[in-house]
Symmetry: C2
Subunit: 193 residues, 2 copies
Amino acid sequence: MPKTKQFNKDKVLEVASDIFRQRGYNGTSIDEILKATGLSRSSLYDSFNDKHTLYIQSLEHYKNLEMHRYEITDDKKLNGLQKIEFLFKEVVNLLSTHPEDNGCLMVNAAAEMSKKCDKTYAVVCNNKESAEELFTNWLADAQNDKVIPADKSPKTYSPFLFNTLCGLKVMSQSGASKAELNSVVKVTLDALV
Amino acid sequence: MPKTKQFNKDKVLEVASDIFRQRGYNGTSIDEILKATGLSRSSLYDSFNDKHTLYIQSLEHYKNLEMHRYEITDDKKLNGLQKIEFLFKEVVNLLSTHPEDNGCLMVNAAAEMSKKCDKTYAVVCNNKESAEELFTNWLADAQNDKVIPADKSPKTYSPFLFNTLCGLKVMSQSGASKAELNSVVKVTLDALV
DNA sequence: AAAATTTCAGAATACTCATTCCAATTCAGA
DNA sequence: TCTGAATTGGAATGAGTATTCTGAAATTTT
């Protein structure tokens, strides 16, 4: 009997997370999200409760999407080190392809909200752990394949890789050129071998 | 004949930059700044024009202060590599001493405003260049003192160091422990030798 | 002490924002 | 086709915002 939902919740989160990414939590108005999603005010509040809930769900959606993009690298026939290299090249390409629109919602959320909102903090921490876990696995693979030395413990090098990744996202907002980002990646990868 | 200013502009910028650091540009209201500085509304608008101008001046003030803190390292009787190490240890201490209040205005500004405001972008870029210049000098010193190999070009390693620095500031907002930050620093420094 | 000129307090203005609410619309199932 | 529950558009609400303005208070120099 009920009328069916006229919109797809994931699509809405997709659009919303992109606006939050560009404009931040405090810089985004509900009206902007309504316009971008085409949703009615009532539908939005009915489905997502309030702006803050929508933000947290957008964060989670973004995190899942980004991690999924990263994990796709696993399907490629590459050794662990090559996977790491592939991921970093992809990130650099993404960051430098659209210089005017290349922020990262996770980094922005860490900067803007992490200290003010426990739920944001939880997602941000969770994202860090997931990414580091991925790196840890790839580093271990690389060791098994003897492409990186056995004494370079995956557990200590994975935070280093994640740190570089976060750095790149800030650098790209600070006027760094693609060449510079690539050079940072090269030095980082050299540190592994 | 005129009444003298009842407040010190630098002190106001000090307080304002700290609030902007904690709450971001869009998250900060003029009223909060008035309360924290004790200034009257009229005095603030008389001295700083508007919120946006105050923000840019706060950014510049913060940048100068941070760079000054970094440059103090130059006074110590250390070789280039030791100076780099000292700076990173200081940053890690600062980041982990007040876990609940350890953001960096420059990183936050890069995330929140860099793409939306040319003046913010200019300060953020300028900060990057100043920091990298400092690192370049220290790396060159270290090469002269033969503590790092001659083939590690300061020009390519200084962006790497700045990248690590930015990463640390994001990591500390993402639940990284002091031990983890230190470990990132150790790997970074190992990459230099 | 008076004058000159700034500082200051706070009311007033003119938004913008998140959220609520209600009436009108829509549509799956009987 | 009719019905009932959900969806929807958009007006209404109420709080918060940056900024302006006016007149009173303050203070240094003459």
